[in-house]
C-alpha cells in the first residue's frame, strides 16, 4: 500500500480506538481534560513510532532468521517496557520541557493495548520496517486525535444535566459510540 493510503488508513479509517478497540483504557481514563489528552497523545506518538521501528527491526533481523518468530509477543512487550523506561530517563535529562509535558503519561503506555497491538499487526500484516514506522506513527496520530476530540467533548458536557445513572462512564461511552458512528463515515475513503 502506498504511504499516503497507509497513513490515512492508520489514522482515520482503521482508527486504533474507534475501529480496532485498542487503547480504550487510556481513552476513557485520560480524556477528562484537553491538556491531559494532548499530553498523552503526544507521548503515545513518540513511543509508538520508536517502538514500531525497533520491534519491526528485531522481528525481521533477529527473530525470523533464528526461527523464533513465535516469541514475538514476549519480546515485543519487554522491548516496549524497556523503551518506555529509557524514553522517560532520556527525556528527563535531555529535554526537560518535553518531560514536563509528556513524562507523566509514559508509565501508562506500557500497558496500553494499542502500542503492543500495533507492533504485532505490523509484523502480522507483513509490513516492512519503513511501512511499520508509518503505520505506527499514524496509528498513534489517530489515537491522539480520538482522545483529544473526546476530551473536548467531555469538557463541554461536564456541567450538563446528564441523568444520575448515566453520569461518569456511561455518558462517556455513549459519546464514544457517537464518535464511532461519525468515524465510520470515513470507511469508504481508501
Amino acid at each position: 500500500m502506498n504511504v499516503i493510503l497507509l497513513a490515512i488508513s492508520a489514522a482515520l479509517v482503521n482508527n486504533v480506538i474507534l475501529s480496532q478497540f485498542m487503547g480504550i483504557c487510556p481513552f476513557l481514563g485520560v480524556s477528562k481534560k484537553v491538556s491531559t489528552a494532548a499530553g498523552m497523545g503526544g507521548a503515545v506518538i513518540f513511543v509508538m513510532t520508536i517502538a514500531s521501528a525497533v520491534t519491526s527491526a528485531i522481528y525481521y533481523y533477529i527473530l525470523v532468521p533464528l526461527d523464533l518468530s513465535y516469541l514475538n509477543t514476549i519480546v515485543f512487550i519487554l522491548v516496549i517496557a524497556a523503551l518506555v523506561q529509557f524514553v522517560e530517563m532520556f527525556l528527563k535529562k535531555a529535554v526537560p520541557s518535553l518531560y514536563q509535558a509528556l513524562g507523566v503519561y509514559l508509565p501508562l503506555i506500557t500497558t496500553n493495548c494499542a502500542v503492543l497491538g500495533i507492533a504485532l499487526t505490523n509484523v502480522q500484516d507483513g509490513l516492512n520496517i519503513g511501512e511499520s514506522i508509518v503505520n505506527g506513527m499514524f496509528s498513534a496520530v489517530g489515537f491522539a486525535l480520538a482522545i483529544i476530540i473526546m476530551a473536548g467533548i467531555r469538557e463541554k458536557i461536564e456541567h450538563n444535566d446528564v441523568p444520575e445513572s448515566f453520569k461518569g462512564a456511561p455518558i462517556v461511552l455513549i459519546s464514544a459510540g457517537l464518535m464511532a458512528i461519525a468515524f465510520m463515515g470515513l470507511n469508504g475513503l481508501i
Binding site: 483504557c25 519487554l78 499487526t121 444520575e164 456511561p170
Partner: protein, 251 residues
C-alpha cells in the same frame, strides 16, 4: 474453604472486572460481537489468569521488588503464547475468531493488576482462586455483552438464529402479498450496528447505567452515597500504574 468462595464471589460479583472496575476494556468491546466469542475470550483469559497467578504466587518470595513488573510481564506473556499455541492446535476456530486479541491478553490490565494486587502478596491456593474468580467475572461480563449484541445485531444467540427461523416460519405460512409487505418493511431484520464498533460502546454504556441505577437506588434506601464509576478513578490500570496515574491527576 471460606477463602476460596470469598475469592470467587469477589471476582464474579463484588469487584467484577468489567462492570465494577472497568478493566480490560479493549477485549470487552472488540470480541463481544457474538456470545460465543465473548465466552471464549473470557474462558481463555480465566485460564491464563489462574496460571499466571499461580506462578507469580509461587515465585513471590524470589522475585525482587525492583524487577517485579518485567518479571510478571515475562510470565504472563509466556502463558499467553502457550495458550495461543494450544488453541491453534486444538481449537482453531476459537483462535481464528479471537485473532489478535489473544496476544493482547498480555496487556489486559486485569491480569497484571491481579498479579500486583493479590498474587504477589498472597499464598498459592487463594491466588489461584482469585484468578479464577476474576476470570469468571470477566467471562460473565463478556458473555452478557456478547449475548445482547448478538441478539440485537444478528438476530441469533450462540449461533442459533432465531430470527432466521422466525422469518422462515412467516415466509412459508403467510401469503405472497403479506410477505411482500413484510419484506419491504424490513420485518425481522437485525439491527446491524450492534455488531459493529458504535454498538459496542452503546451496549456497554447502557449496561453500566443500569447497574449504576440499581446501586443508586440501593444507596438511597440505605441513606448512603452510591459508588459510581466516574471514570477518573477507575480505569487505566489503577493497580499497576498507580504512580503514573496519580502524577497524571496532579496535573
Amino acid at each position: 474453604m471460606g477463602k476460596i468462595t470469598e475469592r470467587l464471589y469477589n471476582g464474579i460479583v463484588k469487584e467484577n472486572p468489567t462492570f465494577v472496575q472497568m478493566l480490560g476494556m479493549c477485549p470487552t468491546l472488540a470480541v463481544t460481537t457474538s456470545a460465543i466469542n465473548g465466552l471464549g475470550m473470557g474462558l481463555t483469559t480465566t485460564v491464563i489468569l489462574a496460571m499466571s497467578n499461580l506462578m507469580i504466587s509461587l515465585l513471590r518470595k524470589f522475585i525482587p521488588d525492583k524487577v517485579r513488573i518485567p518479571a510478571f510481564i515475562v510470565i504472563i506473556a509466556s502463558f499467553v503464547t502457550i495458550v495461543q499455541f494450544l488453541l491453534q492446535a486444538y481449537i482453531p476456530s476459537l483462535n481464528a475468531s479471537l485473532g489478535l486479541f489473544i496476544p493482547l491478553i498480555v496487556v489486559n490490565c486485569i491480569i497484571l493488576g491481579r498479579a500486583e494486587a493479590y498474587a504477589s502478596k498472597n499464598p498459592v491456593i487463594p491466588s489461584i482462586f482469585d484468578g479464577i474468580g476474576m476470570g469468571l467475572g470477566f467471562t460473565v461480563g463478556l458473555t452478557t455483552i456478547g449475548i445482547i449484541r448478538e441478539i440485537l445485531g444478528a438476530g441469533s444467540v450462540f449461533g442459533y438464529s432465531f430470527l432466521d427461523k422466525l422469518n422462515n416460519l412467516i415466509g412459508n405460512n403467510a401469503g405472497d402479498k403479506v410477505n411482500d409487505i413484510l419484506s419491504k418493511q424490513g420485518i425481522f431484520k437485525p439491527i446491524g450496528i450492534f455488531v459493529s464498533a458504535p454498538g459496542a460502546f452503546l451496549v456497554l454504556a447502557f449496561i453500566i447505567a443500569f447497574i449504576n441505577h440499581r446501586n443508586i437506588k440501593k444507596a438511597k434506601k440505605n441513606g448512603e452515597e452510591a459508588k459510581v464509576c466516574k471514570l477518573a478513578d477507575c480505569a487505566s490500570c489503577q493497580n499497576v500504574m498507580c504512580q503514573g496515574k496519580e502524577r497524571a491527576e496532579e496535573e
